[in-house]
């Protein structure tokens, strides 16, 4: 069963058509990679999933419910989390607090006036957050201020924040961009482990083919705003259309 279903989505900015008749299905429990050359519309598409952009036409269905016109926090509450290309974390807060916040959001919803309760006494939340930090190997950095983390750790923290919500669908925007090979491998391993353990559906935008082919169970190739191929990884490798899209770009 597909958890995310995109049908005939069009989006243009002024005269520029960023997305044209995009169709996409993400199956539950899989890792689905979206690849494509620069400017193919990958990030635009992702923005349409999380409520940052609203498509001009078409539909985006999540678990049978339309995401169109919903606010980002509503979409998240439905079970969609997103990791950004440049890590979006709470820079002024400690690592531990960063992870606690999504736990609160998961438990208490979009708004709750819990002004008299104490963070210290929220045992469930604290335990969940600590477990999450152990899972991502960051428990030793629990009390550090998030903005003082290394770039890799920031991204790992962001991932931990998303995962701690136990989302049904995790969107990852170039999770390994700018990482050293070792870090990249760690990330691949982490994602694989999570998928294995929690069966979270993931949609990944990625440039690094090593990452894509290590993780993805299905791949959509986006070029010039439209999905040109959607297939299993082994079929993508030698696909002529994909070659054309990438070579065309290289030729420019």
């Amino acid at each position: 069963m597909s958890i995310l279903e995109v049908q005939n989505v069009n989006k243009s900015f002024g005269g520029l058509k960023a997305l044209q008749n995009v169709n996409l299905k993400v199956e539950e429990g899989t890792i689905h990679a979206i690849i494509g050359p620069n400017g193919a519309g990958k990030s635009t598409l992702l923005n349409c999933f999380v409520g940052k952009l609203i498509p001009d036409t078409g539909s985006v269905m999540f678990n049978g419910q339309s995401l169109l016109g919903k606010k980002p926090y509503e979409i998240n509450q439905m079970g969609v989390s997103r990791v950004f290309q440049t890590p979006e974390i709470f820079g002024d807060l400690s690592v531990f607090e960063n992870v606690m916040i999504p736990c609160f959001a998961k438990r208490d919803g979009a708004f709750r006036m819990h002004a008299i309760e104490r963070v210290e006494r929220e045992v469930d939340i604290r335990e969940a957050a600590e477990q999450m930090l152990i899972d991502v190997d960051m428990i030793d950095k629990k009390h550090m201020i998030a903005s003082s983390l290394s770039r890799g750790d920031k991204r790992r923290l962001e991932m931990a924040m998303c995962l701690s919500q136990n989302p049904q669908l995790l969107l990852l925007d170039e999770p390994t961009a700018g990482m050293a090979r070792a870090d990249t491998n760690n990330t691949i391993e982490l994602l694989a482990r999570i998928q294995d353990r929690r069966h979270i559906t993931m949609a990944i935008i990625e440039h690094d083919m090593h990452v894509v082919f290590s993780l993805a169970q299905k791949i959509s190739v986006l070029a010039q705003g439209t999905v040109i191929v959607e297939d299993l990884p082994e079929n993508i490798k030698g696909h002529p259309k994909v070659k054309e899209a990438y070579l065309g770009e290289a030729a420019e």
Partner: protein, 396 residues
């Protein structure tokens, strides 16, 4: 105790002790000495420090936690004062109904202004709040005179209705018969200490206000507010709606301002339109930053520093200076007096301006950072250091 952990309880106890001992702390010098000029332990100043402390604590919940800089909080102070005085006129000179209405009205007003202003962020938000406050001030000064008594300010009169008060009820603001202006004096050698009912009412309320703000700082709600300041985008992609959180903080801080306004009117039953002017709103901004925005105790220190300066420095005139420096030879005396007179008496604004600049330049975290540095210098990291969130580490 009181739903606080050990550190916070200790911190709160220290604050309580300091507050209750204010009549001693602000009156360190013996009467009749030259330094007695610097004594600030008289009722009006102590009340004002406590009241503006409340105002700043409330402002800090908005600005310190969410980072939203409002220039319009003076409007809530004014609304609080007007509501309280109207209660004195209509219902009773007992301050309880006045203070309750002050908080309700300012809360409603804050809800309205906050709902509109929070549609924008950053400087756009600041200007929106400023515009609302200036509109309130201008109207209160002129067109709304029937409600506000304009330039003169709303005052109580013997002819007022005062439905709940019997024939023997006090003519001045009181708490069940205890008039705010009653003072007791204790002379201890050359020292004189004044214990004023009004001040202790303010002090108890200020402690309660401080306690509430401590709880908010330590609550999940407080954590969410800090998240608003840190990264709103991440917040909404984490399934949290920043708007109601910010609006709640705005309304809470507006009610704190209203409470302060109600107390001001209770200590001195006159509500002037100037309370709504942007300079008053700016003053609370300055108090908060000066003391240390986002710290628990900083805003109170800032409020104290500014009110002390305003009331004590402006009174040091040239004849006072002459009496201090009369031991110097004539020519030198005049020169020294001239020099000091630039900064005191009618020059007290200059001292104020220089203080702002010095604090921001040398103590970026405000007075609290100064305190932390002093403690660090003596190689001791006290408990307050962390619980007071004086350092840059977030108090978890």
């Amino acid at each position: 105790m009181l739903g606080l952990n050990k550190k916070d309880t200790k911190f709160l106890l220290i604050v309580i002790c300091l507050t209750l001992a204010t009549p001693f702390l602000m009156q360190p010098f013996a009467e009749g000495t030259a330094l007695a000029q610097f004594n600030g332990g008289y009722p009006d100043l102590m009340q004002r420090v406590a009241i503006f402390g409340i105002f700043a604590i409330g402002f800090n919940i908005l600005f310190g936690l969410t980072g939203y800089l409002s220039f319009g909080h003076a409007a809530f102070l004014g609304v609080g004062s007007y509501s309280a005085v109207w209660m004195f006129k209509l219902l009773s000179m007992n301050i309880i109904p006045g203070i309750i209405l002050a908080m309700i009205m300012s809360g409603l007003f804050a809800l309205l202004i906050g709902y509109i202003s929070l549609r924008r962020s950053g400087i756009y938000f600041s200007i929106l709040t400023l515009a609302f406050a200036q509109m309130s001030y201008n109207l209160a000064y002129s067109v709304l005179t029937p409600i506000t008594n304009g330039e003169t300010g709303l005052q109580v009169r013997p002819t007022d209705v005062r439905l709940l008060d019997g024939a023997n009820a006090p003519d001045y603001p009181n708490l069940f018969g205890w008039t705010m202006s009653t003072s007791y004096k204790w002379e201890l050698g050359a020292h004189q200490f004044t214990f004023n009912v009004g001040f202790y009412v303010c002090a108890v309320i200020a402690i309660a206000a401080f306690y509430l703000s401590l709880r908010i700082f330590r609550s999940p709600f407080g954590l969410m507010l800090r998240a608003v300041k840190s990264n709103q985008q991440r917040m909404s992609y984490t399934g949290l709606n920043p708007k109601p959180y910010t609006l709640a903080a705005f309304v809470i801080s507006g009610m704190y301002a209203g409470l302060a306004g109600g107390l001001l009117a209770s200590m001195d039953p006159l509500a002037g339109a100037e309370r709504m002017q942007w300079t008053v709103g700016g003053e609370v901004v300055v108090m908060t930053i000066l003391g240390g925005a986002g710290t628990l105790l900083g805003p109170v220190l800032g409020a104290g520093a500014i009110k002390y300066l305003e009331n004590i420095f402006s009174k040091i005139n040239e004849s006072v200076l002459h009496s201090w420096f009369s031991f110097l030879p004539d020519g030198l005396e005049d020169a020294v007096v001239w020099l000091f007179a630039r900064f005191t008496g009618d020059g007290w604004h200059l001292t104020l301006g220089l203080l702002f600049m010095a604090v921001v330049i040398f103590l970026p975290g405000g007075l609290m950072e100064g305190g932390a540095r002093i403690r660090a210098k003596f190689g001791r990291r006290g408990d307050i250091d962390e619980t007071g969130a004086a350092t840059k580490t977030p108090a978890e």
